[in-house]
């Protein structure tokens, strides 16, 4: 990522409105208002088949997996780094989880996903700091490697249906309440880490100015590594939720796992955009929810899902434009 990626801008707080605008309450109300807005629009256009409470829970259930990944990415993105290998890690960790679940049941599934995810995070982080290559580049290389490793892992799965969770059991995380419990725990952990440990402060500090942070005694290398580990821990949780959600995981080649990077990243964009209001976690969760809601709204309107990417891109761009504009004369890369 180019330097100065998330250089926060200087806010001039003069009026009381400005003060209000900088508060957490403002941020959360803006998010809720956005949700209501999209809900209302689709509900109006398609009153019978969109947005009942039952449907809303379905949307939420779909969105939480991406929100978990978005939380993880937040650590890296505020530091100005990026990771292209999370899609490949989702595939690999999920497959490891499935493989272990054959022998060790739920323990194998959960620990397989989480441990494999976290270990890969440590590996990525170490490689990044040892090779001293920009994260965006090193993770493209790792994405290629991890994607192919997943193909070797799936071959170890001797079950009749490699990569698929057995339909009899192992599906607790595919539905309420366990998917909510897993995702909720991840969100809480994220909130705790940002607010009640020094990790949040240090990640922000590194993102603002790495050299100054270093002089202030922030062990930059260490916290970048911690960032990668945390990212991929959350990716491990996401892998667990994703493989449970779809009940199976497919090993891919040819960089197709890249597609999986971007849905969580959208949530992260929301998080970063609302960071100045002090509510990144809610923004990530609500942001992903909005994106899934739009997707469902379009299907409800019987618009071909092919247009979905178009609408998602437009909505994201609008939101980023509204919330994350740089000051005039500022240098943005």
């Amino acid at each position: 990522m180019p330097p100065g990626f998330w250089r926060p801008r200087i806010i001039n707080a003069s009026g009381s409105f400005q003060k209000l605008k900088a508060s957490r309450a403002f941020g959360i109300s803006a998010l809720v208002a956005l949700t209501l807005l999209f809900w209302a629009v689709f509900r109006l256009l398609s009153p019978t088949n969109f947005g009942s409470s039952r449907q809303m829970t379905d949307y939420l259930q779909t969105s939480i997996q991406y929100a978990v990944g978005g939380c993880g990415l937040y650590f890296i993105v505020v530091m100005g780094l990026f990771d292209f290998s999370i899609g490949a890690n989702i595939v690999l960790s999920a497959l490891v989880g499935v493989l272990l679940s054959r022998h060790y049941g739920y323990w194998g599934l959960v620990l397989g996903c989480l441990l494999c995810g976290t270990l890969i995070g440590a590996f990525n982080g170490l490689l990044y700091s040892r090779l001293r290559i920009p994260s965006m580049i090193v993770t493209v290389g790792l994405m290629l490697v991890l994607e192919s490793v997943a193909n070797f892992v799936v071959r170890l799965d001797r079950a009749g249906f490699p990569g698929k969770l057995s339909s009899g059991g192992m599906l607790a995380f595919s539905r309420a309440p366990w998917n909510y419990i897993a995702a909720g725990a991840a969100f809480l952990l994220m909130f705790f880490l940002l607010r009640f440990t020094r990790i949040g402060t240090y990640c922000n500090a590194i993102g603002s100015d790495e050299l100054v942070a270093k002089n202030m005694g922030v062990d930059v290398e260490r916290y970048k590594l911690i960032g990668f580990v945390l990212l991929h821990f959350f990716v491990g949780v996401m892998a667990l939720l994703t493989v449970s959600y779809g009940r199976g995981m497919l090993a891919v080649t040819g960089m197709s796992s890249m597609d999986r990077n971007f849905k969580p990243l959208m949530g992260t964009f929301f998080g970063v955009a609302f960071k100045k209001y002090g509510c990144p976690v809610s923004a990530i969760v609500i942001g992903e929810f909005i994106i899934i809601m739009i997707f469902n709204g379009l299907v409800a309107l019987n618009v071909p899902t092919t247009i979905n990417d178009f609408v998602t891109g437009a909505v994201l761009l609008t939101i980023v434009t509204l919330t994350n504009r740089g000051a005039k004369g500022s240098v943005v890369k």
């Binding site: 339909s167 779809g246 009940r247 090993a251 891919v252 299907v299 071909p304 899902t305």
Partner: protein, 347 residues
């Protein structure tokens, strides 16, 4: 006398269907002492045409390909002609009316040997007919990627099937919804199926058009988690490894599939061309129609699993024998493939 080298340009050699294709091709290559070289092109047009070039540069004697759009075949055929590399399509054929130029080029090129394909339109019609006969009247459709040649043909078949049904039963008409696209992974498959069902509460059937099987797994997960198992009848064109359980539990209403042996016949065409056994018919090319197998009960599937999943439909000696067949016999062999056929041979 070096081993022939035959290239395989496939969307993916690792997903549910692709890995099965690879399995049978590997068995044939071993039996016939041929080297294979795989390229996964992901059905991205640029990569499809590039795969032919890569295979040519590697010095392949022939290649088989599952392309994405028919127009790609123009460049592919030219590459093969220029580099004297035999070529056959699998799961695909160039449509004479829709792509006349490519069709002409295929007929003219001495290296385009032929194509093996399923009658996708018929398959589509069949699936819809079966659903309608089971009493379904509002059928939703989940595809994988828009614009894919096979999907378009199947879609055509579904539409024709509905038309035919409505003509025959004007009092009890059925409708087919426009397709939504669920990608090729389980999670996107589920998310899309949920969206379809949420937006259309009154559907009684869902066709998951294909996409290698993983989209279907996701769709089944959606129906299961929404408590609609059995209420929405699911049909698809990709056999799942646990189809028996799905059928038994009512999650699936029936399925066509088993077509993973299709590339084998394309391989045989190219193999024989390389060996000099087949001469390309002047001004045309060989066309082999591969039959779909239809499975509608757990018992059907049990037999299928025995001969197609746990084992392969052809063993080494049968493969060697097959390689010695003339083209018309090969076509017959292909048309004859069914669960019964294998059962008989194995007795």
């Amino acid at each position: 006398n070096k081993k022939p080298l035959i290239g395989v340009s496939i969307w993916s050699s690792t997903d549910t269907l692709g890995s099965q294709c690879k399995r049978i091709l590997d068995a044939a290559a071993k039996a016939l002492d041929v080297n294979l070289m795989y390229i996964d092109q992901g059905h991205v047009s640029e990569k499809v045409t590039a795969s032919a070039e890569t295979l040519a540069a590697a010095g392949c004697d022939g290649m088989i390909i599952c392309n994405s759009a028919s127009a790609e075949m123009n460049a592919v055929i030219n590459t093969c002609t220029k580099n004297k590399m035999y070529l056959a399509q699998f799961f695909r054929i160039i449509d004479k009316t829709a792509n006349p130029n490519e069709y002409k080029l295929a007929c003219q090129s001495p290296y385009f040997i032929g194509a093996v394909h399923e009658s996708e339109v018929d398959n589509g019609m069949n699936l819809v007919r079966i659903l309608c006969e089971k009493g379904c009247r509002k059928i939703a459709l989940e595809g994988w990627n828009s614009g894919d040649a096979t999907f378009l043909l199947r879609w055509q078949g579904y539409k024709k099937g509905i038309e035919a049904w409505n003509k025959a039963n004007p009092k009890s008409k059925a409708v087919l919804l426009d397709p939504q696209y669920g990608g090729t992974t389980t999670d996107t498959g589920r998310a899309t199926a949920e969206a379809i069902i949420n937006a259309n509460k009154d559907i009684d059937a869902l066709i998951v058009a294909g996409g290698g099987g993983d989209t279907l797994i996701g769709a089944l997960a959606a129906i299961d988690s929404m408590g609609l198992k059995g209420k929405i009848k699911v049909m698809s064109t990709d056999f799942l490894a646990d189809l028996d359980q799905q059928l038994a539990s009512g999650a699936m209403a029936g399925e066509s599939g088993g077509h993973y042996a299709d590339p084998l016949f394309a391989f045989m065409l190219v193999y024989n061309a390389v060996k000099g056994n087949y001469k390309k018919p002047a001004g045309s090319f060989y066309e082999i129609i591969f039959p779909y197998l239809y499975v509608a009960s757990p018992a059907d599937y049990e037999a299928y699993a025995k001969y197609f999943v746990d084992d392969l439909p052809y063993n080494a000696s049968e493969l060697v024998a097959m390689s010695k067949l003339s083209e018309p016999d090969l076509a017959k062999k292909s048309a004859a493939l069914s669960i019964q056929d294998v059962m008989q041979r194995r007795k």
